[in-house]
């Protein structure tokens, strides 16, 4: 009933919105106006001059065009019987102006020749009116001053005003149907490159112009269709220095609260952002960028990131603090010269309380099953600190990068689990209750560097075509203390009751170093321009040095004397050193076929033989763990790439790949020390384990539409593989649910997985529609043993999502999405099968009632069903109303109602190779909250004295 009510409500809401908007639309304008632009002094027509039509009365821009090769323009959908103004502009010319009215009886007017006069002295100050759009060489420029918007408008509002630019519901920006891949501010990446940070924060009044151009210069490939669109926001002189930010506080029912603050400062060379947030409503941001992008001045849209997560496990109280610093040593970086330092700090403190109640059913053999009921209460707290920095230097063919990262992660954890095992007759067979408390302190440091050289200018005589080298170092030091209390009781059979009280202290440290060197075009290096072979050769070498040291101190409680005594079996020190060396050669041959202005096709066939050499050395206090193993394997890779570019239509890309990888068994798989406290999972080793070899064939395909309107793009990837000697589990499970796991090599592991994506964009007169369908699937057949019987489990998992985004001007944004998740698992030996399905429907709407008042609503309905349990359905409805006030709309009050229907139960439902699990966990439930925010902003220096 609730479900029906909520969905009806949601639809009513959206319909109301549509009606409201329909009333705002002007009826179709039947008028048309055409003409030709001519430089009469020089006697030629102006190709690609800008022609714009305004309403005479209030100078609102109605439409603009760029003249064609005949110097002509032809406007349609103009209002009739209204005085209109036409402005013609072109680089080097004075703006020509003409006022006209389209007569209602004819609906059309021919303006004949519009005369353009050269501006002989180019004085920018004398320009009377700024044309809205100009073509400057190959750069399309939109001049902000030509678009009249209210003083609070941001760049996003400006973009919406420009007829050929589309802001899609999912955040994508397209210009004439082509996707903008990167956005810069004054030629530099802006606070990490997230487009929203620039478009939703920068005031329109601070912008001089927006430039759009093809970024093909920076592309190494010369194949057509490879260039990408880049947008640069050029700020007005003096406005390239400023700040913007947010401070917000919210409080609600059930003591729910949230608070956040951010400040972003920028100067021509430097950018600094500091942001902090704290809440107890599962709004978790994992990095500074996420926090920043969710405290923008303008955030209309149906985006759902950084929302209270009603589906996450437990209740989390996160607090986070982040800082982001960028310094450009070169004020105007180019592809030829860049010198930038970026650093980032992030601190996160998280307290989580997680409760769950789950039931897992496992097949023991063809008739018997073990049913485990488990209750968990977990309290954890965690503090993470991360500091990273990157330095980038690029100058004419040389490129140098350094980056480092330090992570500190410390926390504690208390976990209490009560487990009961039953058989099919619902008879209690055993219980296993455990209490684990512990704390950890992890530190790690990462450093990587990369140097690449490729000659800036290549001529036929250039022998050395460059090389690429990488070095990376990763060190860590992890320390943890843990106390485990376990109580196992058996109610059937002969098994003995067992009790443990065990203390662990573990110190692990180690490092990993990796060296990579690649030299392309070896043939030219050796033989120069002499063409001995039509093949291309590339040499590569990879060397990895790895060392891990583990020191475990384990003590058991001597119950008689009540003191902890060292456990001589588990107390251990072990050092593992691995050296990996992979020399490789890549042989490639390319074929091209092209026909001028018709098509360009290229086919590349590559073969990459390489030798994998691994040496693994274990040194331990336990003699049976001492081993020295060497692995060597010839592992060829191969690749076929095909690209078909059809001029003005589409480009198609196909890729077929074959990869060989090797997985060597680690010491815990070969000879682990078995900790007997976890009776429900006892791990045993197998010294005869061999390396597993994975061979994968993958195919990918994508189509990229080159047309300018209503594009259709799709992609497909399928991967299939075989793992020979896969390291699999041999499980011995008794009726008390005690499991002993041996590792064995099992042949016949097969898998096939893939994903597909279809995107269709439709631009209607004043609204945009976007359809997106995504699917991924995974089918695998896993060999293994259960109680000595060889079993194959066949699994199928699918995930399908469909979404429709609709945006109407800047008033309304709607997103409807539907998702289907399924799993199916079959055990061939036992003839058992588990399956389940989760279906979710979400409708999100955002409606700007007035310029200051916005209504947002999000309803999602979830249905979860499993082959062995009752269906569970619940609906979560969140809604909020936002009001902006003060001059500049700088202040905001928001009232939010979350989980309006009080239905959040958060269900657990998943399947494994030989088991399935269903249950519930504690989650966030209904609350109401009022939030007050203030957005301080300033672009350019403050005018102290006004004239």
């Amino acid at each position: 009933m609730y479900k029906i009510t909520s969905i009806t409500l949601a639809f009513l809401l959206s319909i109301t919105c549509s009606i409201a908007n329909a009333q705002q639309t002007t009826p179709a304008n039947p008028g048309s106006a055409k003409g030709i632009v001519r430089d009469t002094a020089q006697n030629y027509v102006l190709k690609s001059a800008t022609v714009s039509v305004y309403k005479s009365a209030d100078s609102t821009l109605l439409s603009y065009q760029v003249t064609n090769n005949y110097g002509e323009f032809n406007f349609k959908n103009l209002p009739v019987n209204v005085s209109l103004r036409l402005d013609v502009s072109n680089v080097g010319y004075a703006t020509s102006r003409k006022t006209f009215t389209i007569p209602a009886d004819k609906n059309t007017i021919n303006l004949q020749t519009i005369i353009a006069n050269r501006r002989d002295i180019r004085l920018n100050d004398v320009v009377i009116s700024v044309p809205p759009i100009t073509m400057n060489g190959d750069t399309l420029e939109f001049n902000a001053a030509a678009f009249k918007l209210d003083s609070n408008a941001v760049v996003e509002d400006l973009l919406r005003q420009i007829p050929n630019i589309t802001l899609w519901g999912d955040g994508q920006i397209t210009v004439n149907g082509k996707e903008v891949k990167s956005l810069l501010v004054n030629g530099k990446s802006f606070f990490g490159g997230n487009m929203k940070l620039a478009t939703q924060n920068l005031a329109k009044n601070a912008v001089q112009k927006i430039q759009v151009y093809n970024k093909s210069r920076s592309q190494e490939s010369t194949a057509p269709g490879d260039s990408t669109l880049e947008m640069n926001i050029k700020l007005k002189k003096g406005k390239d220095i400023g700040f913007f930010g947010k401070i917000g506080v919210g409080y609600g029912t059930n003591n729910r609260f949230e608070t956040d603050a951010s400040i972003n400062m920028f100067t021509p060379k430097m950018q600094l952002a500091v942001v902090g947030a704290m809440n107890n409503i599962n709004k978790i941001a994992d990095n500074t960028g996420d926090l920043l992008s969710n405290s923008t001045f303008k955030g209309v849209g149906t985006n759902v990131e950084y929302q209270p997560d009603f589906r996450s496990e437990g209740i989390t109280r996160p607090s986070a603090l982040g800082a982001n610093f960028t310094y450009n040593f070169v004020e105007k970086p180019t592809y030829e010269l860049t010198n930038t330092l970026k650093s980032n700090y992030f601190l996160q403190d998280k307290n989580t309380n997680y409760l769950s109640d789950i039931k897992t059913t496992t097949s023991v053999n063809s008739t018997d099953k073990v049913i485990e009921n488990s209750n968990t209460n977990n309290q954890s707290s965690n503090t993470t600190q991360r500091f990273d920095s990157q330095y980038e230097y690029r100058k004419k063919g040389h490129s140098l990068n350094f980056s480092q990262e330090v992570n500190f992660n410390q926390g504690d954890n208390t976990d209490q689990t009560f487990r009961r095992a039953n058989n099919l007759q619902d008879m209690l067979t055993s219980t296993n209750n455990s209490l684990n408390t512990g704390n950890y302190n992890n530190r790690n440091f990462r450093f990587s560097s990369n140097y690449r050289y490729s000659p800036y200018i290549i001529t036929n005589k250039t022998r050395f075509r460059g090389f690429s080298s990488d070095y990376s170092l990763n060190t860590y030091n992890n320390e943890s203390d843990r106390l485990n209390l376990t109580d196992f009781k058996s109610f059937t059979g002969t098994a003995v009751n067992q009790k443990f009280n065990r203390k662990y202290n573990t110190i692990a440290d180690g490092f990993k170093q990796e060296f990579n060197l690649t030299i392309p075009d070896v043939k030219r290096l050796i033989f120069g321009s002499k063409n001995y072979s039509t093949f291309n050769f590339e040499l590569s070498n990879k060397l990895v040095l790895n060392s891990d040291k583990n020191n475990d101190k384990v003590q058991d409680l001597d119950t008689i004397n009540n003191v902890y005594r060292t456990n001589s079996y588990l107390n251990n020190q072990i050092t593992t050193s691995v050296i990996e060396e992979t020399p490789g050669l890549k042989i490639e041959k390319s074929f091209q076929k092209s026909l001028s202005n018709r098509y360009y096709k290229s086919l590349t066939i590559g073969f990459n033989p390489k030798e994998l050499l691994v040496s693994q050395d274990n040194k331990s206090n336990r003699s049976f763990q001492n081993s020295n193993r060497n692995y060597s394997r010839f592992a060829p890779d191969a690749e076929i790439r095909y690209n078909n570019y059809q001029y003005g239509e589409s480009s198609y890309n196909y890729n077929l790949n074959y990869r060989t990888t090797m997985k060597i068994p680690n010491i815990n798989q070969l000879a682990p020390l078995t900790d007997s406290t976890n009776l429900y999972y006892l791990q045993r080793g197998n010294l005869n384990l061999k390396e597993a070899v994975q061979r994968e064939l993958s195919f990918s395909f994508y189509k990229y539409d080159q047309r300018s309107k209503n594009t259709l793009n799709y992609s497909l990837t399928v991967r299939a593989g075989l793992i020979a000697d896969n390291i699999a589990d041999s499980l011995l499970i008794d009726e008390q649910n005690r499991r002993t796991v041996y590792r064995v090599n099992a042949d016949g592991h097969k898998y096939i997985n893939g994903d597909a994506n279809i995107r269709k964009a439709l631009k209607l007169k004043s609204s945009e529609l976007q359809f997106n369908i995504y699917n991924n699937f995974n089918i695998n057949k896993n060999p293994g043993y259960t109680n000595g019987v060889s079993t194959y489990s066949s699994n199928l998992n699918t995930n399908t999502e469909g979404s429709i985004n609709y945006t109407y001007k800047s008033y309304l944004a709607m997103a409807l999405s539907q998702s289907w998740n399924t799993y199916r698992s079959k055990q061939e030996a036992f003839n058992t099968q588990y399956s389940g399905k989760t279906v979710g429907t979400t409708l999100t709407t955002s409606y700007n009632i007035t310029k200051k008042l916005t209504l947002n609503s999000s309803i999602s309905n979830n249905n979860s069903s499993s082959s062995n349990a009752k269906d569970i359905t619940y609906t979560i409805w969140n809604a909020n109303i936002v009001y902006r006030f003060l001059k500049g709309n700088n202040a905001e009050v928001k009232f939010a109602a979350l989980d309006l229907l009080r239905q959040n139960t958060s269900v657990i439902n998943y399947g494994n190779a030989d088991s399935y699990t269903i249950g519930t966990q504690n989650v966030l439930k209904q609350y109401f909250m009022t939030t007050l925010s203030y957005y301080p902003r300033q672009f350019g220096k403050k005018n102290v004295a006004k004239k």
């Binding site: 055409k34 430089d39 020089q42 006697n43 030629y44 027509v45 190709k47 690609s48 064609n68 090769n69 005949y70 002509e72 032809n74 680089v91 073509m135 060489g137 190959d138 200018i457 001529t459 005589k461 092209s594 026909l595 001028s596 202005n597 018709r598 001029y647 003005g648």
Partner: protein, 448 residues
């Protein structure tokens, strides 16, 4: 001697430096600088002693400001414009016209992309194709191909001549092999094989890479006239060491403008148009561009630019680093310039009228009823004309070509205007599409 040269370098270099630094060139300075470079060129020629003297008595200086170029309508320049679509079939599909020759009955074209010679009728109907399948494979030659053709008359019969591998093949205009003759190897005769060199009607051969052996040092010439196996004149000498580690090509290019006794010649990095006859080379037109568009005077010779050409163009994007595709038709001098800017707004193809001093921009020749309101070049959208200029220039007709993509785009832009096309184009627009074969444009120039 060496000191003298050094002094010359110094004078030249200093002057040029002043000019390029100032960027606001005053005419006086310009003249002096220019004079010095010409003197230098001539002197250095004399220093080498073997090079012939270039006749500059008839030299005309033309001051050309590209921004003053005007537009005209097609009918002001041309009496007649004909479009000849070349038939598209599965067999006749080709990329673009690299070389075009005309006989009384046929158009014969060479397409570089498909490495084929195609024969069409004067109406554009496909007759035959000559490609690798009709040429014998020489087992010793790897990737054997051919890169053009010639039309020759043998025993009163016209034949298509193609050099490939070790043979010269002769085909008739049905594409059938008439005969084949082995190529005389230079090694065998110890003489240069001049079969395919440009010749004057009196048999004088133009050699653009003449080697003069002299003791230890070898001197090459960019331009030499050879008659009866003897060198008559040689111009523009250089030694291989001069251009070592230099990525810039320093040669020149000859342009056939339909006069059997004269070619136009442009040497790289100079804005000079020379006339070459079987007797001599004379400097006909010296073009002066505005300072912002001009290369330094010593760009060709000063070692500071050696190996740094692209860098220089990249930094000075307005500078014309190349002047190409020059033809002379009565008083109209055609030429194109190139710089590092790719904008189509910039005018780069011109017609200069020597009598009226009027400068016309070829991209701004406005289509009118003479051309059925269709463009006569693809300068506004593609690069065929930029790259190749006219295929054929003769006193009576010019020939040009562009892709069907260009023609269909123009037709689409004309859609609303109710244009009437002649029978050929009506049929073409009805049955063909953007992917059809290129179209030949035949232009009959007015004799102004």
């Amino acid at each position: 001697m060496l000191n003298y040269l050094k002094l010359l370098w110094f004078i030249r270099y200093k002057r040029v430096k002043i000019i390029s630094l100032g960027n606001q060139m005053n005419t006086f300075m310009f003249k002096i600088a220019l004079r010095s470079i010409i003197i230098c060129t001539l002197l250095s020629g004399q220093v080498m002693a073997q090079a012939s003297k270039i006749d500059s008595t008839g030299m005309v200086t033309l001051r050309i400001d590209p921004s003053s170029a005007r537009g005209v309508s097609v009918s002001q320049l041309f009496e007649e414009v004909n479009f000849i679509p070349l038939e598209t079939t599965k067999e006749s599909l080709f990329g673009s016209i690299h070389q075009l020759k005309i006989t009384n009955e046929n158009y014969v074209i060479y397409d570089y992309e498909t490495k084929a010679v195609l024969i069409f009728t004067k109406e554009g109907k496909y007759i035959a194709k000559i490609n690798a399948s009709k040429i014998e494979k020489d087992p010793d030659v790897k990737g054997q191909s051919f890169y053009g053709f010639d039309i020759v008359t043998q025993d009163g019969k016209s034949l298509i001549q193609i050099d490939a591998g070790k043979q010269i093949y002769y085909f008739d205009f049905e594409g059938k092999l008439a005969k084949k003759v082995p190529i005389i190897k230079e090694l065998l005769s110890k003489e240069k094989d001049y079969t395919n060199y440009k010749k004057f009607s009196d048999g004088t051969i133009i050699d653009q890479n003449f080697l003069e052996k002299e003791d230890k040092d070898s001197t090459y010439y960019n331009l030499s006239l050879i008659k009866d196996k003897k060198r008559v004149e040689s111009y523009f000498s250089y030694k291989t060491t001069d251009y070592k580690d230099d990525e810039r090509g320093h040669g020149g290019k000859l342009y056939d403008y339909g006069n059997p006794d004269e070619y136009l010649y442009i040497k790289k990095f100079y804005y000079n148009i020379y006339k070459l006859t079987s007797k001599k080379l004379s400097l006909a037109y010296r073009i002066l561009f505005p300072a912002g568009n001009s290369l330094p005077m010593d760009f060709d010779t000063n070692p500071i630019y050696k190996g740094k050409g692209y860098e220089y163009y990249d930094k000075n994007r307005d500078v014309f680093f190349d002047m190409t595709n020059s033809y002379l038709h009565y008083n109209n001098l055609y030429f194109q310039v190139r710089n590092w800017n790719w904008s189509r707004d910039e005018k780069k193809a011109f017609i200069y009228n020597l009598k009226t001093n009027e400068l016309t921009s070829i991209a701004d020749i406005e289509p009118d009823s003479t051309s059925q309101f269709l463009p006569i070049t693809d300068l506004a959208s593609q690069y065929d004309f930029t790259n190749r200029g006219f295929h054929i220039v003769s006193p009576e007709y010019f020939y040009n070509s562009y892709s069907s993509l260009t023609l269909f785009t123009a037709k689409e832009q004309n859609e609303d205007k109710n244009r009437k096309y002649n029978a050929v184009l009506t049929q073409y627009f009805k049955t063909q599409n953007k992917k059809s074969n290129p179209v030949i444009i035949q232009l009959k120039p007015k004799k102004n």
